[in-house]
Symmetry: C4
């Protein structure tokens, strides 16, 4: 039984907040984090764009022995947030090992579409 | 031909049982386990939430040389089960190496949406 | 530049051929194989079920420097094929290293749903 | 803090540009690349088919500290591009380490379907 489970850096290259919602559900994306540790995890999310400087230093807290499904549209770095309708990518760093999955619900049409990927884990010795 | 194939710990950060079904199919999620061993696999599933203590110790048996696509809504730890409409995460432990994939059918709308990810494998030497 | 790229064993725990199609497209699943080698790859697919003995020894040829997106419904082991509407899992073995992805188009509803996962690679030293 | 993050070779076995679009959105696929380096990344994409010689040498530039969500239908090797409605696979090589995810929006039906996978990373020592 290892004392270190999870990874401290996760990458999500395909981020996109659909600007339109129709039907009953709202278009959104979430980063879904699991912290199985007995300590809270402090995350820093950096956001990369196609045509402008990165938005850095978004902070997210995931309590000990909890999951957090954080909507990307609600993340804030100071007063700045991730714009809708713009392709972006995320780098999710944690001070202790966690697990990260990314899911998107696209409700542009009344009939929704879903996609999900496990984040790409970056190991220290890579 | 290695005698050890698969992993004994798999993580699924984005669990969610859609509370609504419409149309012909029922919204559901499954954890899909493959046991290629000549022995039965005994699994323990621990469930993590955003706002309450984990639900631990759900047991699942996957027979030798069989797959099991277990609906999460039917999993039980004593009399407790995973509530619908609540974000959660899963830790799937097995006494022998297996493979785990997670899939969700969202039939909230008559037109369904599907998503699937391979579980995230945790290796002993990680 | 390594001479060995890809893996020789890939696992797909969540197989299911939707029995119903409506609308313009037909429900189907594919295993998508890429062979970047200068030699043909000979694959053997073993199929595991929930309630019966495995169906073993389905053979698939992927020519050198080619991809093959093989519909699972067309795979044959002798006169046997994978039944529709039944949960199953696949073990894909290749005599030389290849890459395997699995995708499903569910056209049960006129509005289709898609899911895809990379196969889970099993390394020799695992 | 490692100086080398990401991988220089990524594989996507299931490529397919849906030939039809209906409704408000256009069917498309994207390769989503994140370059967290302080240098531009020069990518070469090779495309493999089921029944013809590979299309090699498509070049893509991803600037330093940027993401690029490149539509596959717009990629060019000289005057050649990837045909619609044909199964194919991609090999994405980069001169410096990057991250690659693949996503498809199928708008064949007015109600869209989405799928996404992380590219499969090939490590030098594999």
């Amino acid at each position: 039984m290892s004392s270190r489970k999870g990874e401290t850096l996760w990458i999500i290259p395909d981020g996109y907040i659909p600007p339109i919602s129709s039907g009953d559900l709202e278009s959104h994306e979430s980063i879904c984090v699991l912290n199985t540790n007995h300590m809270d995890a402090q995350l820093i999310v950096n956001v990369y764009f196609e045509d402008r400087e990165p938005l850095e230093g978004i902070t997210v807290l995931v309590p000990a022995k909890r999951t957090l499904h954080a909507r990307t549209a609600l993340l804030k770095s100071g007063s700045e947030s991730i714009p809708k309708g713009v392709p972006y990518a995320m780098e999710v760093m944690s001070d202790i090992p966690v697990y990260v999955q990314y899911s998107r619900l696209d409700a542009t049409q009344p009939a929704n579409a879903l996609m999900s990927v496990m984040g790409f884990p970056v190991r220290d010795n890579d």
